[in-house]
Symmetry: C2
Subunit: 131 residues, 2 copies
């Protein structure tokens, strides 16, 4: 696989975001593009991180929260106690995620119920109509 690099507009077009968004994410330390003089040069690493960030946004996470999760990813702690702390935080986040999945599945079930109720009503109305 070849190491690609991207200009800011290439990346914005790729993910349908504005350059402001990319600069803002950088301001928060979520992205760290290389500098080619004054201009930003994004690499695959940045692209992947951006993808993760945007998925997080779609899922309703805040940028600070996303930052925390990303720090779990690339954490490489030297101290054992630090490593254990990271593990704890990761587990906590994992439990949150699992709770969220359960909640979403409840929403799904409720929507399906509503759906079948509506379909029943629809069938009745249509039977009534063709008389």
């Amino acid at each position: 696989m070849i190491e690609r690099s991207y200009s800011i507009t290439e990346l914005t077009e790729m993910f349908d975001v504005t350059s402001r968004t990319l600069r803002y994410y950088e301001e928060l330390g979520l992205l760290n593009p290389e500098r080619r003089g004054t201009q930003r040069l994004y690499h695959d690493r940045d692209r992947v991180r951006l993808q993760l960030i945007l998925r997080g946004r779609r899922l309703g996470f805040g940028l600070q929260e996303i930052s925390d999760m990303l720090s779990l990813y690339d954490a490489d702690p030297t101290e054992v106690t630090q490593l254990q702390a990271v593990l704890q935080r990761g587990d906590a986040k994992l439990r949150e995620i699992e709770a969220q999945i359960r909640d979403l599945e409840a929403v799904r079930a409720e929507l399906l119920e509503v759906r079948s109720r509506l379909e029943k009503t629809l069938a009745q109305k249509q039977r009534g109509e063709r008389e």
Copy 2:
């Protein structure tokens, strides 16, 4: 089951929200408490709706979006075409939810991977330590 009713502070304590939040939701039409003179009187119906709203918030939905979903719940359209429209909107939302569940499960899988990686590193360090 007895029909209970709640004052605004009872409800806020029940769900750990402020009265401002409840009034704001009312302003947006998400809640419609009875009025006992000038004061608000919430019933079980309101309590259940509030519960749904707060779950929606935890899942990252906006209040407008939540309002739309609630309107699916209590929609009782008279026209067949309207009913079909509601069904369509419901199906669209359902697909969104399912996509969200898939994304969340991906996040879960990634966190589990990170976790096992960290545990391996931890085991190594601990083996190294007791020498």
